[in-house]
Subunit: 438 residues, 3 copies
Amino acid sequence: MSQAAPPDPLARELFEQIASWPIYDPHSHIDAHRPASRNLDEVLGYHYYTELAHSAGMPAAEVDPGLPPQQRARNLARHLHRIDNTVQYSWLLEIARTFFGFQGDRIDADSIDDLYRLADHSAAGAGEAWDRSVWETTNLEAVFLTNEFDDPLEGWDTSKYVPCLRTDDLVLKLHEPRTIQRLQASTNVDVGDVKSLRLAIAALFEYFVERGARACAISLPPDFVPRRATPVASQNSVRRAITHMDLRPDEHEEVRTLVFWTLAELCAEWNLPFDLMIGPIRNVYPGGVAGGRDLFDRRVSLHDYAVLFTHFPGVSFPVSTLSPDAGAELVAFSWIFPNVVPNGHWWYSNVPAFIAADLKARLQAVPKTKLVGYYSDAYKLEFVLPKFNMYRRLLAEFLAEDCVRGRGWSADRALELARLVLLENPRRLFQRPGGGAG
Amino acid sequence: MSQAAPPDPLARELFEQIASWPIYDPHSHIDAHRPASRNLDEVLGYHYYTELAHSAGMPAAEVDPGLPPQQRARNLARHLHRIDNTVQYSWLLEIARTFFGFQGDRIDADSIDDLYRLADHSAAGAGEAWDRSVWETTNLEAVFLTNEFDDPLEGWDTSKYVPCLRTDDLVLKLHEPRTIQRLQASTNVDVGDVKSLRLAIAALFEYFVERGARACAISLPPDFVPRRATPVASQNSVRRAITHMDLRPDEHEEVRTLVFWTLAELCAEWNLPFDLMIGPIRNVYPGGVAGGRDLFDRRVSLHDYAVLFTHFPGVSFPVSTLSPDAGAELVAFSWIFPNVVPNGHWWYSNVPAFIAADLKARLQAVPKTKLVGYYSDAYKLEFVLPKFNMYRRLLAEFLAEDCVRGRGWSADRALELARLVLLENPRRLFQRPGGGAG
Amino acid sequence: MSQAAPPDPLARELFEQIASWPIYDPHSHIDAHRPASRNLDEVLGYHYYTELAHSAGMPAAEVDPGLPPQQRARNLARHLHRIDNTVQYSWLLEIARTFFGFQGDRIDADSIDDLYRLADHSAAGAGEAWDRSVWETTNLEAVFLTNEFDDPLEGWDTSKYVPCLRTDDLVLKLHEPRTIQRLQASTNVDVGDVKSLRLAIAALFEYFVERGARACAISLPPDFVPRRATPVASQNSVRRAITHMDLRPDEHEEVRTLVFWTLAELCAEWNLPFDLMIGPIRNVYPGGVAGGRDLFDRRVSLHDYAVLFTHFPGVSFPVSTLSPDAGAELVAFSWIFPNVVPNGHWWYSNVPAFIAADLKARLQAVPKTKLVGYYSDAYKLEFVLPKFNMYRRLLAEFLAEDCVRGRGWSADRALELARLVLLENPRRLFQRPGGGAG
Ligand SMILES: [Zn+2]
Ligand SMILES: [Zn+2]
Ligand SMILES: [Zn+2]
């Protein structure tokens, strides 16, 4: 039985059932060409471990990309005891035990070499077998990817590794030379003005949808405010961005507004959900380790997005908010807007204390058919299971306490709710455009 | 025993006691001329059901006011299974069972016609008997109304259905022609400037207090900031508003500032509590169903109101905040300002997860004599009981866990605290001006 | 056994262990010359009691400083029953029982004279013995003080009563004549410009560190935003401040920015932690009792401090935030920035409901070696024990539920974590600069 099983007998019973289901994971950063790890360094390289160890005093140089992988793992291991209280550490331990056959209680300087050996799948041909093995142990049904807009999307089964069009660069970095180059290279559209820009982005949608993409996604900083695009008025700013001229702040704003609105229009056209991940500010802490430099400003409100939700009633917006204290607002907006869907528990909010509170409010106040319980956000396949198990446990505890004991529901009724939230809702909301569930 | 009773035996025991008390409900939208429902459509028409069903996919047309009532009920019923996880659905089920003798477990397309029949009190003369029956089953002592300023307040027992002067229109819509017309018609004051405006509003206070009003109330948007009125300087803006001329934003602000401050002065004069409901923004989602279009911006702070609380030490301000994450700030302001009273759990914050957290902090950190536990905010009398039972249960659970088990209190001491919060405080705080408790 | 012991048997067992340890208290307002109370009035004079009683209706005049102490105590006692639900009242009861031998259940008008007599240590020589007795009963290892910058720091054992340089006046009130006078008097530096100002402040650091200071501390209003100092550009503003000329808002800002940044530089130089207490606005409610006039604006974000944390990687910043809803952001910033340490639970956030939520998130997501569990913020020594016991209980409850039952830890492992958070981390983080732990 999973170490994630809750102590309460009723919750444990529900958890066992839920843990026997397949996992449908609607957002990750898995590389479809190399989904599972080849060695422990690829597991320990997850930013949570490097950033928490760094936060606890490890110099960034100890996990420098230039070091040999096992050395990086050893270096990190010497700091893991300082973060063995964290939920992130518990994922690591569950991975080590479930996937690597680790028997110990602690991953530290003493056990790291053993574990490194157990986790090694770097031999020729071993990797693909390991990918399949992790997929099966995880009982994974589908996992969504995060694909750059110029990803050719070739070489994997897109019904299992589902493409997702990530659009941060288009909206936030259109003025950077590489963005336009990549856009032109991937679409063969000569981008010079608002009209050709739109044609190019439309070509991306066509390409992605044809290759099985089932969502468009973006992460947006707290100061971004969606506004209806004004293509004619924005023509000049867009031209300046495309030709890499310096932009005034208001011109920048015009460009990102226009591109963002265009994306929403194309989501409507192609019937793609538009995942909004609201809140991060990039590189707040430039001294941090790779992947551990972003934070947020908690002064953010979904009210800024009301105009977007209103204008695109036909687009489904699965929304994740970054600041844990913004979770209650998402409940209210999901309760009113038919097209706003509370989506998982993201990054700095992906901590049991915050998940439990958000999950409770959502399950008490948002229509059950709109809840997308969880996504892994994983970079390596091994993380899908322990992260989902963390959520499954919190869900089982809520169902036991609030629904079965609290409202007198049968266990079956509670499990029906869990099944909706974990499987049926995401399958339906992210189904193949124009077709049945994937 | 109520289905709302908590599973923990000690909490259940406390709940049973508390549930046997009368209910004193200091804020509702009950129509004193027609307090209980005449048919099920009037129950299902509560905005929670239409907005949640709409959020879950029901087209607004299915509950169009032009449809026959039973058709609307049937239409809505086909969508209720999608929201049967919500606390709002649980109120409905409790109403069906407690008041209508419904025996089923689910209100859906199959059971709706039966329930509609059970809930029918539309026969001539049946309505009044039904009003009395619901009042008695609820064990209601008094329920506060929400009366437009030109309500004649005639035709009911104002010691049971207590008038309350609602002032949103005066503050926020003074510039609309109908507001001034209504004000002149109801006061016989010829309103032309700051002075006559104040005379007219004073006349409203006199009228309302004479007819038993025990509170003045208003809901205010997040961008409203109370400021000391400047009658002379604002003269011009007020004149322009009264004569329906276009106002600049700063003139608008001057007008609403002046009227709001005038209301506070008159509350001081007439010894009326001034209920502040802080946060809603109207019509954020124009595509929503009636009553389901308002939301908020969570970036709001009671600090904006400090100048008001300071200036009117003699006015009691029962305060409700809309954004769930603003609840902790209300605890701090209630703990410092003698005239700030945390008032119930409002609308988007009226969800068990949020109530439980707020209730706990208030009962741990605000003087017990200042807590107004709950109000129903109901539009129909049937909702008072299930909504209060939801609160009573959370209160009983807090008392069992935190006070009896946690601090070693006797059950009697815990019940004394409950009695204060539910009955004695609201009776005292909202007593008839100049008289004893109502 | 302490009345603070939790009801759950496992949590109680952990609590008993934890309660047997010494207390290391890294922030208080204790007067080292007169640490414990001499009479009950000095206990009841703690702002929590006067402000809560005032909030519940007591006129400020009843605790006027001009009244005889016993009269003040009697006056206050007549209002205590209205706040006997609060956690602050429970500290009082624990003090009365633990230190004064009080046997009753309530402190009120009936029992106040008895208690006053029991708490009297005003006889010649009795005070010092009482100080030692409270110290020993509390099992106190060290308590940090809050010393004005011109405190001579003489006359006590600074390894027990640890000096801490409080700098609010320097940053926020440099323009007030008394500040410069005091600065010149205490440093013998003739302060006339940026350079001499810095010399004077550097002299304070030298003086404080030589006399055992182990932290610099400041409380900052929500509108303060740290910025890199610009000594040359700020020269004029600083000169105007020093000569008490009127300052424009931007000049004010320049002055406080410069002084604050200088403090951070000197903390780096002297290897002193810089305690940041973020959020209070002074005198929000001028009508309040002494110490009960400050509040906050919840619209505040640590993002404003990112530039500071980034610029001074070598300075440890123990951070307390005032608005309870800002706690989750502190978790995220502590998880990323190596030099940001979540520090205790402060003032309006120091309520079990808020502590329990914050403690849980911190222990789940911040490296365990960075957590400073609690400080008393006490003005009199008697408060250290009940306040720490409140925290110890919440910690024991978390460990029992989340770690032992929830994760299968042994009790010993849970206690190791508690020991880090309560003792080893603060000892290490606040150790004597250049030396071993104090
Ligand atoms: Zn992601
Ligand atoms: Zn209302
Ligand atoms: Zn302090």
